[in-house]
């Protein structure tokens, strides 16, 4: 029943958000695209000019490039696997009747509120430090050699830190979904003789599917752009062993001032994010229609 008047009022009310987001999305992106075809170094402005696709070629021929894409995907997929599977198990556990459930929830959700630099520093110095860390203490207690996490297994170390940050998120959301499951349905299934496993596969899991989709979508958005955790712990190293795409672009742009190459990397990051987003948004859009 929208009249002409209310419709134009609605448009007027939406304009600020839409315009702001549009400008924020388009203007910098166009500049990045433009720079990706330029030779530009703020420290050496003489050789500026259009260079076609050579930035992309340079970025591509950089051995760090493939490594960084691989690291980006490894990070996203490993953390998703750990947090979704761990989150389901943890949600099932916390959903059981127990004493002090409220406090357990609070303890489990806490890491999510820790800012990334703090999480990374605490893990780096107090937990994983090869000499003074808690892991090293535990290893020595059992008479084993402490592991030099950031020197020898930098990606594993970062995956552990990032998974620790996101496991609470997955758990909280899956737990919320679990708690909205109809108790009577569960009982009916139980009376029909369905065991725990079949109840889980045929009843609980389908019920949680929407929550799982949402968890995957939202985590993917954030995991594709992990930055502070790497900056604080390994600084991308040793070599490029723990450099992901965002970190490589940051290095090119603000440390080496190779703006053209950095922009080409940025464009590639956008394409990668779009491929992921395409599938994720479709899934969420479908799910939200229900």
């Amino acid at each position: 029943m929208a009249t002409q008047q209310t419709r134009s009022l609605a448009r007027f009310m939406m304009a600020p958000s839409v315009v702001l987001l549009f400008v924020w999305m388009i203007v910098p992106l166009v500049i990045t695209l433009w720079f990706s075809f330029q030779q530009y170094n703020p420290l050496n402005p003489i050789r500026d000019g259009f260079v076609g696709f050579s930035n992309y070629a340079l970025f591509y021929s950089n051995p760090a490039f493939l490594q960084s894409i691989l690291n980006t995907l490894t990070l996203v997929i490993s953390v998703l696997l750990i947090t979704v599977i761990g989150g389901i198990l943890l949600a099932l556990l916390i959903d059981q009747p127990m004493w002090g459930q409220g406090i357990v929830r609070i303890l489990v959700i806490s890491p999510f509120f820790v800012m990334p630099p703090v999480a990374a520093l605490v893990w780096k110095n107090m937990i994983m430090h090869p000499q003074y860390g808690v892991f090293a203490d535990i290893a020595r207690f059992f008479g084993a050699q402490p592991i030099d996490w950031f020197g020898q297994h930098p990606m594993t170390a970062i995956i552990i830190i990032v998974a620790w940050q996101w496991l609470p998120f997955a758990t909280l959301i899956l737990l919320t979904a679990l708690q909205s499951l109809d108790g009577e349905q569960k009982e009916a299934a139980e009376m029909d003789g369905a065991g725990f496993i079949s109840r889980f596969i045929y009843l609980t899991l389908p019920h949680m599917s929407r929550a799982i989709t949402v968890v995957i979508l939202i985590q993917t958005i954030f995991l594709l752009s992990v930055y502070a955790e790497i900056l604080v712990t390994t600084n991308g190293g040793p070599g490029y062993a723990s450099t992901n795409l965002p970190f490589l672009v940051y290095q090119k742009a603000l440390l080496e001032f190779k703006i053209g190459q950095a922009s080409a990397g940025g464009v590639i990051a956008v394409i990668l994010a779009n491929i992921v987003a395409f599938f994720a948004m479709r899934a969420v859009g479908k799910n939200l229609d229900k």
Binding site: A228, G285, L288
Partner: protein, 274 residues
């Protein structure tokens, strides 16, 4: 018929859940414990009982001026949230109460802007900030954080507003309420809880944002994220101080977070999981 829960089952669940929960919470707990140790104690190996000194806290403030960063964090997170609400409330309002065929597309598009990797626009933003003198300014960063979180704010408000029944508006209108009265007396009271939870979640997100806040600041506008990152190598081995600084940086948001668990789920899933 409630299922009878055996005490044994409950005991096992309790023990298992507490062990897992304490393991997950351990890094935070250990940080808090270490912050009350002296530097000497902090590197002497695993110990759960600190000597209870406050010396690290006073030193963190004395050496680095912790409260300036804290103040910036408060200003940036609250400021950007208020800005975002000002822009988002009208939009969410109109989408919830007079939806059109395109409303859903607009919402999805807004969400998609969130997918753009920040790093892809790092240099342009850096240039724009440099050339307009916004680098290391609180206003610039506030606008930046507002833009980053705007899609989430619009979405979240939209899901709350959509739950306000439209019939109430019609009833008020029939009773002769003007548009203004309608907004003040009928809608606002119903919208406040939703706006409050949106605000809470957004403050948490802005407080913890750790890309732009680190890259676009140096000293003046630097919030706690930048402060903590600067701790990474030179002072790496002063663990008691590091722990004290970390504890101070996370405590306010941790406590806020505990109180907002329910709203958090809803906000972070764009209303898809309640």
């Amino acid at each position: 018929m409630a299922r009878a829960v055996t005490t044994q089952h409950k005991t096992i669940a309790t023990v298992a859940a507490w062990i897992v929960a304490l393991l997950i919470f351990f890094p935070i707990l250990y940080t808090i414990i270490t912050s009350f140790k002296s530097e000497q104690e902090a590197i002497q190996g695993f110990a759960l009982i600190p000597s209870g000194t406050f010396e690290s806290y006073t030193e963190v403030q004395a050496q680095s001026g912790y409260f300036k960063f804290f103040f910036n964090s408060v200003l940036l997170s609250v400021g950007s949230t208020v800005l975002a609400l000002l822009v988002a409330i009208p939009a969410a309002w109109s989408m919830a109460f007079s939806p059109t065929k395109r409303t859903k597309d607009i919402l999805m598009w807004m969400l998609s802007t969130k997918m753009m990797p920040a790093v892809a626009v790092l240099f342009p933003i850096y240039l724009i900030f440099r050339d307009t003198g916004l680098l290391d300014s609180r206003i610039g960063l506030m606008v930046m954080l507002m833009l980053i979180n705007l899609p989430i704010v619009v979405w979240m408000l939209y899901t709350y507003f959509r739950e306000i029944p439209g019939e109430i508006l019609e009833a008020a209108r029939m009773d002769g309420a003007s548009l203004w009265n309608e907004i003040i007396y009928v809608l606002t009271p119903m919208a406040v809880p939703g706006i409050a939870s949106t605000m809470l979640l957004n403050i948490i997100l802005a407080w913890n944002e750790a890309f732009w806040t680190i890259r676009l600041t140096t000293t003046e506008a630097a919030p706690l994220t930048a402060f903590i990152s600067s701790f990474s190598s030179p002072q790496g081995l002063f663990w008691a101080k590091l722990s004290a600084a970390s504890t101070l940086a996370i405590a306010p948001i941790l406590i806020m977070g505990w109180f907002s668990q329910k709203q958090l789920v809803r906000g972070l899933t764009f209303g898809a999981v309640k």
